[in-house]
């Protein structure tokens, strides 16, 4: 127990000191600015957002710029960074044998996981929106998987996908017998790693998205449906011209957050062993380059590449949103 206290105590002191110093700085900024004649509202505003401004400079802007610089260097933390120009990027695209399989796995995972998860979520949300009884109960139930730790989810699904004794192959047994085939090996078969990850990812996310989409559905004014019915619109026409446009901002939000999240999958990969040939997720590759091989420069280049992928995909979605996302406030 004493050892434990020894490892908590110094951190606790530093934690309190940093918190206290920050509070004092906010106070001084507020009174100081007001003393030199800055308007009260302005002084208070800056004082309140001070923690974020410092945090942004120290933990976002500086690391952002510095990692961009590092991506053009060779750096193993023990010697100072050495400038090597575009070599890291050239190596990434030409000679790194892990890069392309890793990019392929990550992109395909996002490509399948996000739309499939959204369709499932939309289906459940539409069902829940049909004046279902005990709505709270269903909502709680469907949200449940999102509460579980990613590590526990990964272990659970690895066990469920276990080729010889897992639950999935147990359920599929009659199917295997019917077609006279070998049981699928899921996470241990390089070709099935992706579908296994997609199924696992859907389980984790579709209920949470359903709850968000349901809130969006509840926000659609009933008058719109009534008007559509008076105009003689059937169920499908109502869905297409009332539900989808009115829900599009919420769909847009889940799509963007879904893509960003799916491209950054990390924790799960540490609890599931997959064959080398299947590739690793980009985030895992970056982690290994940085912290297992101490290739800080090369890892930074990979991280910047991932950032570019996320930016391009997000911008594509945002650009396309003009065509399909409907904002009420823009109507007039």
């Amino acid at each position: 127990m004493e050892a434990a206290i020894q490892s908590y105590w110094p951190t606790l002191v530093r934690w309190s000191l940093v918190g206290g110093t920050l509070g004092a700085m906010m106070y001084l900024l507020n009174t100081g600015l007001q003393r030199v004649g800055v308007k009260r509202d302005v002084a208070r505003g800056y004082a309140f957002v001070l923690p974020w401004i410092i945090g942004f400079l120290v933990f976002s802007l500086y690391p952002f710029v510095y990692s961009f610089y590092l991506s053009f260097t060779e750096y193993n933390i023990f010697q100072p960074p050495r400038w090597i120009g575009l070599d890291n990027y050239v190596r990434m695209f030409t000679s790194d044998r892990n890069f392309w399989p890793s990019l392929r796995l990550t992109l395909l995972y996002a490509f399948f996981n996000v739309p499939l998860g959204m369709i499932g979520a939309l289906g459940v949300a539409l069902l829940l929106n049909r004046n279902v009884r005990a709505i709270g109960f269903w909502r709680t139930l469907y949200y449940l998987p999102a509460v579980l730790p990613a590590a526990a989810v990964a272990l659970l699904w690895r066990w469920m996908f276990s080729p010889s004794s897992g639950l999935i192959n147990f359920f599929l047994q009659p199917f295997y017998a019917l077609f006279n085939m070998e049981p699928l090996a899921w996470f241990t078969d390089p070709n099935l790693v992706l579908p296994a990850y997609v199924i696992m990812g859907m389980w984790g996310v579709f209920g949470a998205n359903a709850v968000i989409l349901l809130a969006g559905l509840k926000n659609i004014p009933r008058e719109l449906y009534e008007a559509a019915q008076i105009d003689g619109a059937g169920a499908w026409a109502q869905f297409r011209s009332v539900t989808i446009p009115m829900l599009s901002p919420t769909l847009f939000y889940t799509l963007v957050t879904g893509i960003i999240g799916a491209l950054q999958i990390f924790t799960q990969a540490f609890f599931i062993t997959t064959p080398q040939r299947a590739g690793q997720f980009l985030n895992v590759l970056i982690y290994q380059e940085a912290f297992a091989f101490r290739h800080m420069g090369y890892a930074s280049a990979l991280a910047w590449f991932l950032l570019m992928v996320i930016l391009v995909l997000t911008l594509l979605v945002i650009r396309s949103s003009a065509l399909w996302v409907y904002y009420e406030s823009e109507r007039g």
Partner: protein, 317 residues
């Protein structure tokens, strides 16, 4: 059946409105049959999907209560016989054998230390920043807020290496500081966004009255504002607790000594120590259940606020 249905319909104004709408249509027997068929299908589908959600859960708990021999019995026995409650303590005894100082209580203390300190710092910092953005007019406010929103798109892995180097230069690797002290400054942008949205819905009257009574800005913030945004704060608290409790990348990078491991790292450590031939799934599922239990408990306790807070970003954003 019909009476119960009418009762349910009169329950809420929205449903009542729908009722008048329905009565405009002709109520033929055919309509009634179609209507109840639809309801039947709705519930059938909901139940079908909920199996997809619940079966893995049931399998986790069922596995955690099996003896080793029962793991591989086909067909699967959902209720183990005998029920091996001892798996729960035994899993941590096994872990303790390979990591002598890492008892269950030590792991719990480590996890709570990280989670509670990080959560406290983040809640305090984030609520102040959100208040600043929501209530005061100052130059560059909107630009700063857009920058804040755009940091949400920045993948953590991009800033990870330089951030690691900062903590290394401060000689604080292998302490809890990167996981808890940095939070004072590195509060989540999404949390600021969420709280600001919530703050914008609250009228200024209360604050103005308090200022007239002579309160200062900190008093107004703590005594007037914080109680008003309590539902959002509670939702955030649960989400932040969950995030830190589950955080794996942070401890993986910053903590080297096994004694300091939180639950998730202990789980990883335990898994690595097992051979591929004997993965001891009953122990791993027991540990996973232990790790998930507090989160599930918190979720059930705070779920009303939780779902409200969760959806605010997506719907009102």
């Amino acid at each position: 059946m019909k009476v119960r249905e009418d009762e349910a319909m009169a329950a809420t104004p929205a449903v009542a409105r729908e009722k008048t709408m329905r009565s405009a249509r002709v109520r033929t027997p055919g309509f009634r049959i179609r209507h109840s068929l639809e309801r039947f299908l709705t519930y059938a589908l909901l139940i079908f999907f909920s199996f997809f959600v619940l079966i893995p859960f049931a399998y986790m708990i069922s596995t955690s209560l099996k003896t080793e021999e029962q793991l591989f019995i086909w067909p699967i026995r959902w209720i183990p016989d005998p029920i091996a409650w001892s798996n729960y303590p035994q899993a941590f005894v096994e872990l303790n054998r390979i990591a002598p100082n890492l008892t269950f209580w030590r792991i719990l203390a480590n996890t709570l230390f990280i989670t509670l300190l990080a959560m406290t710092a983040e809640l305090i910092a984030v609520s102040m920043v959100a208040y600043g953005f929501a209530r005061f007019q100052f130059p560059l406010r909107n630009t700063l807020f857009i920058i804040l929103l755009s940091t949400m798109m920045l993948p953590g892995i991009v800033t990870l290496i330089p951030t690691f180097l900062i903590w290394r230069n401060l000689q604080l690797i292998n302490t809890y500081d990167p996981l808890v002290t940095g939070i004072w400054l590195g509060g989540g942008a999404w949390a600021v966004f969420l709280l600001r949205q919530f703050l914008l819905t609250i009228p200024r009257d209360f604050e103005e009255a308090a200022y007239i009574d002579g309160a200062n800005v900190l008093q107004v913030f703590v005594i007037i504002m914080l109680p008003l945004i309590k539902p959002a704060l509670l939702a955030l608290a649960v989400l932040i607790f969950q995030g830190n409790w589950n955080n794996f990348m942070g401890p993986l990078i910053y903590l080297n000594s096994v004694d300091q491991f939180p639950m998730v790292m202990a789980l990883k450590f335990f898994q690595e120590s097992l051979s591929k031939e004997a993965p001891k799934w009953h122990y791993m599922m027991a540990m996973s259940t232990v790790m998930a239990a507090p989160l599930l408990l918190l979720y059930f306790m705070a779920q009303r606020y939780f779902i409200e807070g969760l959806t605010i970003g997506g719907v009102k954003g």
